[in-house]
């Protein structure tokens, strides 16, 4: 039988460990995956391979950073992300004939517009964020198919060889001759995102909104504006990702970005951002994205096909969320 104070001490320690695991658990997973990968194949622990892993998930990371704001604010996820990726990419290709700057700007503005609509409907009118953003995704899908008659568009046919090369090379720039631009953009966005979440009024208020929307509103936080801003940032990040993806695959198409919604949420949840809102950080999301990359890489090295990889991803996702919810309940921070 423990004395009361001892028991509190023990509980405290337990809570501390649980909190620590929640915050940095994803890096333990990375470590385990690294060890596993090394044991499986001697091709795994090479700079080339690891650089490939990061390169492969950089685009996903860019999108995930944006969606993190939405999740952090307790609004689950932005399901319109695949639509924004496709639309902004296609608009960028379509506008390429007026020059590269116009093309990039119009791609970003397109994303911004969708973000503004989401911000108004979810932030101001308080529509169900999942159903609304899902509806937006459907509408965008329809609009894109209708505008381009369900066809793909090619930069060189739209704007001529010279501009097309410039656009296509955009995602192929290597900074310092070694680091791909997508990775740089991703890392920069993680840093900006982390600063936004921890060092600004926006981040702190978003945390309060995520923890309890009503309390935040009663406290006088501009909930409409802050939630709106989260959706706008998400859309903006998705359009950056969309332009880079389109540049990388050299085709603007309505199916670009399919599956990014689910994979972004997976990365976010893996990274320890609570779906209940108000918890987590960008460094964790960075880890979550890397875990997805490592997992796919190891499965490929094992000779597991793409289809089975999807299954593993789904199962890992459910398991992690399960663990997450379970530990939250143990901490007494979720009801039920």
């Amino acid at each position: 039988m423990l004395v009361k104070s001892e028991r509190i001490e023990l509980n405290k320690r337990r809570t501390k460990t649980a909190g620590w695991i929640e915050k940095f658990g994803v890096y333990i997973m990375i470590l385990v995956l690294l060890i596993l990968g090394t044991l499986i194949s001697n091709k795994f622990l090479t700079i080339d391979n690891l650089a490939n892993v990061v390169h492969a998930v950089a685009l996903l990371g860019i999108v995930a950073v944006g969606v993190t704001f939405v999740t952090y604010s307790g609004h689950f996820a932005d399901m319109s992300v695949p639509g924004i990726i496709a639309l902004s990419g296609m608009v960028a290709v379509d506008m390429l004939r007026y020059g590269l700057v116009v093309s990039l700007a119009s791609g970003l503005v397109t994303g911004l517009m969708v973000g503004l609509i989401n911000a108004f409907v979810v932030g101001k009118l308080r529509a169900n964020p999942i159903i609304w953003t899902l509806a937006v995704a459907f509408v965008i899908n329809g609009v894109v198919r209708w505008l381009y008659r369900g066809e793909q568009i090619y930069p060189d046919l739209k704007a001529g060889e010279k501009l097309a090369t410039a656009f296509v090379n955009l995602a192929r720039i290597n900074i310092g001759g070694a680091v791909p631009i997508t990775v740089v953009v991703f890392l920069v966005m993680v840093i900006i995102g982390q600063l936004l979440l921890t060092k600004t009024k926006f981040g702190v208020q978003l945390k309060l909104i995520g923890s309890s929307y009503e309390v935040a509103r009663m406290t006088g936080v501009n909930v409409t504006g802050m939630v709106g801003l989260a959706f706008i940032l998400s859309a903006l990040a998705a359009s950056i990702g969309g332009i880079l993806l389109t540049s990388l695959v050299k085709i603007g198409a309505y199916y670009n970005g399919v599956g990014y919604d689910f994979r972004a949420v997976t990365a976010i949840v893996l990274g320890g951002v609570s779906l209940a809102g108000g918890k987590g950080n960008m460094i964790g999301v960075l880890g979550g994205v890397v875990v997805i990359g490592l997992l796919n890489n190891i499965l490929t090295l094992l000779g597991v096909g793409t289809f089975s990889q999807t299954i593993v991803q789904g199962l890992v996702f459910i398991l992690v969320v399960w663990f997450n919810t379970y530990s939250l309940r143990k901490l007494g921070k979720a009801d039920g």
């Binding site: 689950f76 996820a77 409907v121 101001k124 009118l125 308080r126 529509a127 169900n128 999942i130 159903i131 609304w132 899902l134 509806a135 937006v136 459907f138 509408v139 965008i140 899908n141 329809g142 609009v143 198919r145 209708w146 008659r149 369900g150 599956g259 689910f262 949420v265 949840v269 779906l275 096909g305 793409t306 289809f307 089975s308 990889q309 999807t310 299954i311 593993v312 991803q313 789904g314 199962l315 996702f317 459910i318 969320v321 399960w322 919810t325 379970y326 309940r329 979720a334 039920g336």
Partner: protein, 339 residues
């Protein structure tokens, strides 16, 4: 007068889907050539039956205030299994396997939502992806074909005018579940669980059981719908159910099921699917392509969600206001001005 007006609009709003359906039907009958033919009307009924079937389970889940995003892939799973197992086992067993697979997906969803207490949106997003992987793994990404076509002929030939067996089965299931949900004590429980889980639990309902059953039903109806659809085509593709999720979500919300739970009807969802199917059929007959269909249903869904959100927003604005007191104040003010 004001009160009557308000009541009138309430009635219209409550039965909006039936008005909408008649409106769309009349419009199409007027503007679309060859719309009112036996052949075309039968086609519409055939076109609706897959999504109506899927909507039955989805509506029950939504009444419970949960969401099931896995219906699209579950219906594809049902379609792939029923065709895939037919050559070896015959139709009876393959249909059973397909429906059981759907039930299993539903059970997994229900268990994770009700017992592990994970948000249904997340759970079904996960199972959606997992099932998608299983489908591609099972069919290796190719379409599957049946070797026996007699069932397809039987399912698709009308036995009474307008009504082939596949449509009949769908209609019977809709009526069955409508009665079950609206008229039986057990069925009413779903509404209670959705409206307020705490109260339902305090009232002695097995809330976890209800949620699990709702998800199992959703899995079963999705798989059954997919299986019957594939049987009538004698083949199944891994992308057979991609557009269903959107149409079913749209129809369920248009049909009056509330996203806040505890409100809605299966008949409403079924009529909403019928409305959308009539809309597609008309648009297709007018020469519009598949992309217009997607755009139309997306827009309809967005409009309805927007309208619902706006109505709630308005209601929230005037919450706690007492119009009769305000009127009195205004009268007093006018009175004081007059004197």
């Amino acid at each position: 007068m004001d009160k009557m007006n308000k009541k009138f609009f309430q009635v219209i709003n409550n039965y909006r889907i039936y008005f909408l359906c008649s409106l769309v039907f009349i419009a199409m009958a007027i503007f679309v050539p060859n719309f009112l033919t036996v052949y075309n009307l039968t086609n519409i009924l055939k076109g609706m039956s897959l999504n109506v079937m899927v909507a039955i389970g989805f509506t029950i889940v939504m009444i419970c205030k949960e969401l099931d995003l896995s219906i699209g892939t579950t219906l594809t799973l049902g379609a792939m299994f029923v065709i895939g197992f037919q050559p070896a086992l015959g139709w009876g067993w393959s249909l059973l396997i397909a429906v059981l697979a759907g039930a299993l997906v539903g059970l997994a969803n229900g268990f994770l939502v009700a017992r592990a207490k994970i948000d249904s949106f997340i759970v079904t997003l996960g199972t959606m992806t997992t099932v998608q992987g299983i489908i591609f793994l099972y069919g290796k990404g190719y379409a599957l074909n049946a070797t026996d076509f007699t069932v397809a002929d039987w399912l698709e030939t009308p036995i009474i005018p307008f009504l082939p067996p596949r449509v009949l089965i769908t209609i019977v299931l809709v009526l069955l579940f409508q009665v079950l949900l609206a008229r039986t004590r057990y069925g009413r429980g779903f509404y209670m669980v959705g409206a307020n889980r705490e109260t339902a639990w305090l009232a002695g309902l097995n809330t976890e059981g209800y949620v699990i059953v709702a998800f199992i039903l959703s899995g079963i109806t999705a798989a059954l719908g997919g299986a019957l659809f594939a049987m009538s085509l004698s083949s199944a593709t891994p992308t057979i159910g991609t557009s269903s999720l959107m149409i079913v979500v749209a129809a369920t919300i248009i049909g009056g099921t509330s996203m806040a739970g505890g409100k809605g009807s299966i008949l409403g969802s079924a009529v909403a699917v019928l409305t959308l199917t009539i809309l597609y059929n008309g648009l297709t007959n007018l020469g519009a392509g598949y992309e217009i269909q997607i755009l139309a249903s997306g827009l309809v869904l967005a409009m309805v969600v927007l309208y619902e959100a706006y109505a709630l927003y308005r209601a929230d604005k005037v919450k706690g206001q007492r119009p009769e007191l305000l009127k009195e104040v205004r009268m007093l003010q006018e009175g004081s001005k007059g004197s």
